[in-house]
């Protein structure tokens, strides 16, 4: 009798299951609009030229070795990452009021934040947006939070932000509730608050003494401008709020599998930094001990060199512009086909995804008839659209919406 007899199968993780089914599909017309990774116009992964340059510098640098990094990671990376998020002129950085820690991707950053807030501040309640990245609740539940609740976010009637609902739910939250917000390019709805709306949100966060954890995964990929995309972070910082930023460098540097992230904890009082660092080190020691070199070295090389930094920003614009072009082309085609419904949100939504608003039967139809893979909530990855497949996808959406 085996030791693991009673162990059943775990539920599948949707995006990875989509990938699996996509790769098994033999149709030559198949399109994978599931997983959020950037593709070029040939549908291929794109290693940013500046990343390749930086890798060459790293690999050929004979003074570098593979020794352990400090528990909190590579200092040149951490500082540069936080500067990217808060702006180099940020008063928070100048006053030494931010702790920066290299983490294992954006996920690792969120996990460290969850562990730190639970273990050291004894917090137990978290609010995540409805229709958020599925791993948000996974991370906080795995960390042992007993209250993982939702705040309203998406208004299906207007196909836009439900600001009133959001504000009301934050107003009703108890003090010291952790709130996860998306800095830009909300995953799943691709719908962000405007600057004015952010001001209202921050005001409530302050009033109710809530603890914001800003998930920052797509900086640069929305507008093409890293500073514009980081608006809510700068607002929180200049408003004197104590908050956390969980940054990912997977998408905007194309370094998905190198697992690079940064957790920034902003405090009112710089004397709390050393203590927070020591407690975070204790947590990290029990999960991954210290973070990996490679991604951190590459990004530090780029962010700390003026011309490489400019090259990177230009390449981020290339990615953001290609996504915008795909939105435009998809929208044009749906309008020309006279596909029922208002497709304006294809243009106004931001970031990698379009939250189409398609129903479950329509989504199933897209996959079964046209071999187009998307999440069951109807979210499509615009980065995987190309000038070669946009006609096919538009016609497929049109048929799904008109017949299902």
């Amino acid at each position: 009798m085996s030791l693991f007899q009673g162990l059943g199968f775990a539920p599948v993780i949707e995006v990875f299951d989509l990938n699996r089914r996509f790769y098994a599909d033999e149709s030559p017309e198949k399109v994978n609009l599931g997983l959020g990774a950037y593709r070029n116009d040939d549908g291929e992964p794109w290693v940013l030229p500046v990343v390749h340059k930086a890798e060459e510098l790293v690999v050929s640098n004979r003074t570098l070795n593979h020794e352990y990094l400090p528990i909190c990671g590579l200092p040149e990376f951490r500082q540069a990452a936080t500067r990217l998020a808060l702006g180099s002129e940020s008063v928070v950085i100048k006053e030494n009021r931010v702790l920066s820690i290299q983490t294992i991707g954006g996920t690792g950053s969120l996990r460290l934040a969850a562990e730190f807030l639970k273990q050291k501040l004894h917090l137990d309640t978290v609010l995540i947006s409805s229709l958020t990245w599925d791993n948000h609740s996974g991370i906080f539940k795995a960390t042992g939070y007993s209250q993982v609740n939702e705040y309203r976010y998406w208004n299906p009637g207007t196909k836009g932000l439900d600001l009133d609902g959001l504000l009301a739910d934050l107003q009703n939250a108890t003090e010291k509730t952790v709130v996860i917000l998306h800095t830009c390019a909300h995953n799943t709805t691709a719908t962000d608050p405007s600057p004015q709306q952010w001001k209202q949100i921050v005001s409530v966060l302050k009033e109710r003494k809530l603890i914001p954890v800003m998930d920052c995964t797509y900086q640069g990929l929305v507008s093409g401008d890293v500073d514009e995309d980081a608006y809510p972070l700068r607002l929180l910082a200049s408003d004197g709020v104590e908050f956390l930023i969980a940054q990912s460098f997977s998408k905007n540097f194309g370094l998905y599998n190198e697992r690079l992230g940064n957790l920034a904890i902003i405090t009112k009082d710089s004397s709390t930094i050393d203590e927070m660092r020591s407690q975070c080190e204790m947590i990290i020691r029990r999960i991954w001990s210290n973070p990996p070199h490679h991604g951190a070295r590459v990004v530090a090389t780029i962010l700390n060199d003026k011309s490489l930094y400019q090259e990177w920003k230009d390449q981020v614009i290339i990615m953001a512009d290609r996504i915008k072009l795909m939105r435009k082309m998809l929208h044009e085609r749906l309008v020309n086909l006279k596909t029922p419904g208002d497709w304006n949100h294809v243009l106004t939504q931001t970031g990698m995804f379009v939250y189409t608003g398609m129903t479950s039967p329509q989504v199933k139809y897209l996959t079964s008839k046209f071999h187009i893979y998307l999440t069951k909530m109807g979210r499509i990855n615009m980065c995987a659209m190309t000038t070669k497949n946009v006609d096919y996808v538009s016609k497929a959406i049109h048929e799904a919406v008109t017949t299902q």
Partner: protein
């Protein structure tokens, strides 16, 4: 302004500053966060860095150093890096468990190229974040899915991070006798007695080779007996193998215990690290394996391991794993690597011999047999805390309070100095 007035203004300004910072502190949500305990081993390195004595030696941290005291980048690793860079691989997400070629190569390295477990697809092997990450996955998996017991028994002493990792995973950490301070050797009788008393289903953590921190390993016949006792008592073997190849210089010899337990029919768990044997410390390459009862069970176990990894860090860092996979799966590189690893092991063994010889030369009357009996990175010298303190204060030799030295930190240029110092504090 009169001096007294100036002083009053300055004093009140200072008070004001103190008050505002107190207020800021009091109102900061982080104000109740206390300072964590300092890391003992890192503390040694910090103190070492500050010491200006040119003869200073850092025997604290367990990282390999060459005979010039420098970090050693394996030639095979340099070659593999060049290959990877030139192959123009992309940086797309690996799967949650890492790449299949890395996982398979790791399992075969541990279990042998002809492993029937691997051939029959029984091994649920995933990439972990070096040894720590692999232990953490294992700890979480057992806490959630191993129903027979939540008790993990670690040897006394063990690597300092074992207890926090397993506790944080939700397990109870207990211990069994291991090190005999009287002989500076293995307390075989005590270990077998304690293991025999563990209730059925208990998990026994075993260092596969080069025990950390003592350097004391069971002999093959002793491993065989422990294996039998654990079979009779229905205990679960959980191996930590962080030094395969690095201990004796022979990867097969170092994996003896792991392979023997498997051959004898145990279902084992195994944590591997490539930090030491490939010098990939900061690249975080490791693996976690559970050997299952059937290929079908392996699929179920894999699916549950993925659920543990995803909310921790989603998927593993690929660079180190690519280096490992390139080396293990390219025949020329693999043979060269085996030579690199033997070179490291041989240098350590040679330092042990020289230390022992030099202590004899110094005229020490103590029995230093354990220096060469012990194996791997570390040596439990048997020195007491006050002797350790004197070593540091009088000779600028840095080691941990328990008398553990990292043999890898000794060079032929300073082994005589070390012997002299040890003799001075222990005669």
């Amino acid at each position: 302004m009169a001096l007294s007035q100036t002083l009053r203004v300055v004093a009140s300004k200072k008070l004001f500053n103190i008050n505002t910072s107190l207020i800021a502190r009091h109102s900061s949500i982080w104000s109740n966060v206390e300072m964590g305990p300092p890391d003992a081993i890192l503390g040694v390195t910090e103190a070492f860095k500050k010491d200006t004595n040119p003869k200073k030696m850092n025997l604290g941290v367990g990282a390999y150093r060459d005979d010039q005291g420098k970090p050693f980048i394996l030639p095979t690793v340099r070659k593999a890096e060049k290959i990877i860079f030139e192959s123009g691989l992309d940086h797309e997400y690996a799967t949650i468990i890492g790449t299949p070629d890395f996982c398979k190569a790791s399992a075969l390295l541990a279990f042998g190229d002809n492993s029937s477990a691997v051939q029959n697809n029984l091994n649920a092997t995933v990439q972990g974040i070096s040894g720590t990450g692999s232990l953490r996955i294992g700890g979480s998996f057992f806490a959630k899915w191993y129903t027979k017991s939540k008790d993990f028994y670690i040897p006394s002493p063990s690597w300092g991070n074992h207890t926090p990792i397993f506790k944080h995973s939700g397990l109870n950490v207990k211990s069994y006798r291991y090190y005999d301070p009287g002989t500076c050797g293995f307390d075989f009788k005590g270990a077998v007695e304690d293991i025999s008393k563990i209730p059925e289903g208990g998990v026994v953590v075993l260092h596969a080779c080069a025990h950390n921190p003592t350097g004391v390993d069971p002999k093959p016949e002793q491993w065989k007996e422990i294996c039998q006792v654990m079979k009779d008592k229905k205990l679960f073997p959980f191996f930590d193998m962080a030094y395969q190849g690095f201990a004796s210089g022979d990867i097969n010899k170092d994996a003896f215990a792991v392979r023997h337990f498997l051959e004898q029919g145990h279902q084992i768990a195994l944590c591997q690290s490539y930090a030491k044997n490939m010098g990939l410390y900061g690249e975080r390459a490791g693996a976690f394996t559970i050997v299952c009862g059937s290929a079908e069970e392996k699929e179920r176990v894999m699916s549950q391991i993925k659920i543990i990894i995803r909310p921790m860090y989603s998927n593993p860092p690929i660079h180190g794993a690519r280096l490992v996979s390139t080396i293990l799966n390219t025949p020329d590189l693999r043979s060269e690597w085996l030579k690199d690893v033997k070179g490291m092991a041989d240098r350590i063994i040679s330092m042990r011999t020289q230390l022992q010889d030099n202590l004899k030369k110094e005229g020490s009357s103590h029995n230093w047999q354990h220096i060469t009996d012990q194996i791997g990175m570390f040596c439990f010298t048997g020195l007491k805390p006050d002797q350790v303190e004197r070593l540091t204060k009088d000779f600028s030799i840095y080691l941990t309070k328990d008398g553990r030295i990292s043999v890898a930190g000794i060079a032929s240029s300073n082994v005589a100095y070390l012997a002299h110092a040890i003799h001075q504090v222990s005669k």
